[in-house]
Assembly symmetry: C2
Homo-oligomer: 354 residues x 2
């Protein structure tokens, strides 16, 4: 495949994509979760799923002060740019980034057109559901799967494929649609910021079209306010019909140093509010923190093995190590899921309404 | 310079950039304009600077129908994406793209730090104001000038440089700030579309930061709704301070086939309304036209040598040749500046208020 062999044109991209693959590979056999239902409502509280405490107070003080026109911490409306990571920040990311389930299902869907996959790795391992072998194949296997799953169609066709997948797919342990596993406190935070004229953006390592499929319905974030990893595409005329073809080559891997680069490119402004959960978000935290005037850096810290998952420094998916050190050194805010979140997932509210 | 010598990593980008340079080079000695003041106001007319006629009627019928919820031509609000080229569509582009005056001034500004430029081309020609020699140097000269003018600073520094340039620079023949040379009828059209819940975007071959400098004030288009040509950048930590450095290498040239590719990437939706003025906009016209349901393709046709400039098929800046043929074949709307625009520039209204 062009993507695999043509390293001349994109050596750094290949390296990044492989790094992306490596980080994830170790996590293939990890699973486990439990749920617990809690609810919280207070008509006057804009963040009802956040417990009272230092974190909630800090968020509300920052947002209130940003709107005080005569105050020292006022932020002009045009500068109220808030960026959010997606995986592990707005929705769950365990046992694997949800997009990986899509990629595996897409390979299975394409298999009838590829009889050679019965013997060709990594496709054989995916089709045999043999994750142990898959994991042993190394980064190349993951890369090959991702490239295959994310290319070879027009842009419009791909969007349709993602939409259909979301309609049917379920999380392996929660056995719910993946979109159910967004974080209720973060939905409230997005709304709260928008109510105060912040413009909210997603800046994710995930595929940009994958997130755009649900960003409007679930997060109320327009597609054009989603920044993510992109595949190379090209314009083609098929008769009278103009289409965008998705090529089997990475265009831009939006993680780590890539995030502030993409923020500068897509948004054109340094954010004043940044939320993330992993070392992959550290550079956009640093970029946000480096501006003049008031700003807010929020790390979601996965501390709740009961209601969600507890992980940080040792996790292969969503590792928070250097970022945790820097957050503590620089006084960035940590949202401790166990103590700060009254509710984790929105369905908890529906299942047990007060 | 890395950009000039490193063709391995970006052969296509170099080719595109050189093409960009070629198209412009022939125009360096062309100039000439005249002005004529007219005004037009009608409190009930959302497009007062458009003369009554086929074009104005077509625009208004399309927009009205898009909002008729029970009509056949209704467009859901989320799909009301309108894309506008900038040079020659939202503001003038003669005798040269305005960004070229910026680039030449930037070279002059940097000259004291580069004594070697006194003898090194193309800098010598620019410093001597010897446009004839400059034009004779070929594409490499223009490329070298553009790369020099657009790199070597942080992103924040570059924004400041552009802002300061706009504050002082004047159009060579109109002797007015460049921002005065936006088209009043197009400002009204942008407002009219937004009043009907269209989201307006700029999709330009010009530098993305250059346009972002004035898009909010002049067009009321947020920076993050501007798509343009980009330079490669990278994230750097200078001590505690995170910055985006602008590298001397083209990242993406947003013209022709690049425009629909960038629309797909930045906006994530096929537009329903597209306005342009040159063959560089043809592919985004085709892309817009290829969607299902109602859509509107508008070519601004420069027909008025009295109030502005008259040019189309033979012009090196803003050539409209294939696009003109296709517009006529497919029934796309042509805005004929001479007959359709009552007013060209906003200052005409201020100078002669009714």
């Amino acid at each position: 495949m062009a993507f695999i062999t043509d390293t001349c044109s994109n050596p750094n991209k290949m390296k990044h994509f492989r790094l992306f693959a490596t980080v994830l590979l170790g996590a293939f056999l990890i699973a486990g979760c439990s749920r617990q239902t809690r609810t919280a409502h207070s008509p006057s509280d804009p963040l009802p799923s956040w417990n009272p405490g230092v974190t909630k107070t800090a968020i509300m003080e920052f947002v209130d002060a940003s709107c005080e026109k005569l105050g020292e911490k006022f932020i002009p409306v045009a500068d109220r740019v808030a960026v959010f990571d997606n995986d592990g920040t707005l929705w769950a990311e365990k046992p694997l980034y949800f997009q990986f389930y899509f990629a595996m299902d897409r390979v299975r869907q394409l298999a009838p057109e590829h009889p050679e996959w019965k013997t060709e790795q990594p496709f054989k391992a995916i089709l045999d559901n043999d994750m142990e072998t898959f994991a042993s194949l190394g980064n190349g296997a993951l890369t090959k799967m991702l490239v295959t799953a994310n290319s070879g169609t027009t842009s419009a066709e791909f969007n349709q494929i993602v939409t259909e997948w979301f309609r049917k797919a379920e999380h392996p342990t929660y056995q719910r649609p993946f979109k159910d596993l967004v974080y209720q406190p973060m939905l409230e935070l997005l709304n709260y910021l928008r109510d105060h004229q912040f413009k909210t953006f997603i800046v994710s390592g995930g595929g940009i079209e994958f997130i755009r499929d649900f960003s409007e319905d679930v997060y109320r974030i327009p597609k054009d306010q989603v920044v993510g990893t992109t595949m190379r595409t090209q314009f083609e005329l098929k008769g009278d019909k103009a289409v965008i073809m998705r090529l089997p080559e990475l265009d831009f891997y939006n993680d780590k140093e890539g995030k502030p680069v993409a923020i500068d490119k897509y948004i054109g402004r340094r954010p004043v509010f940044c939320a993330g959960n992993s070392d992959g978000d550290l550079q956009m935290m640093q970029y946000t923190a480096s501006g003049d005037g008031p700003r807010f850096m929020l790390y979601v810290h996965h501390t709740d093995g009961e209601r969600e998952w507890a992980y940080d420094r040792e996790s292969s998916v969503g590792r928070l190590d250097k970022g945790l050190d820097e957050a503590m050194q620089r006084g960035w805010i940590l949202a401790d899921i166990k103590s700060d979140w009254k509710v984790v997932f929105p369905y908890e509210l529906g299942e047990d309404p007060e």
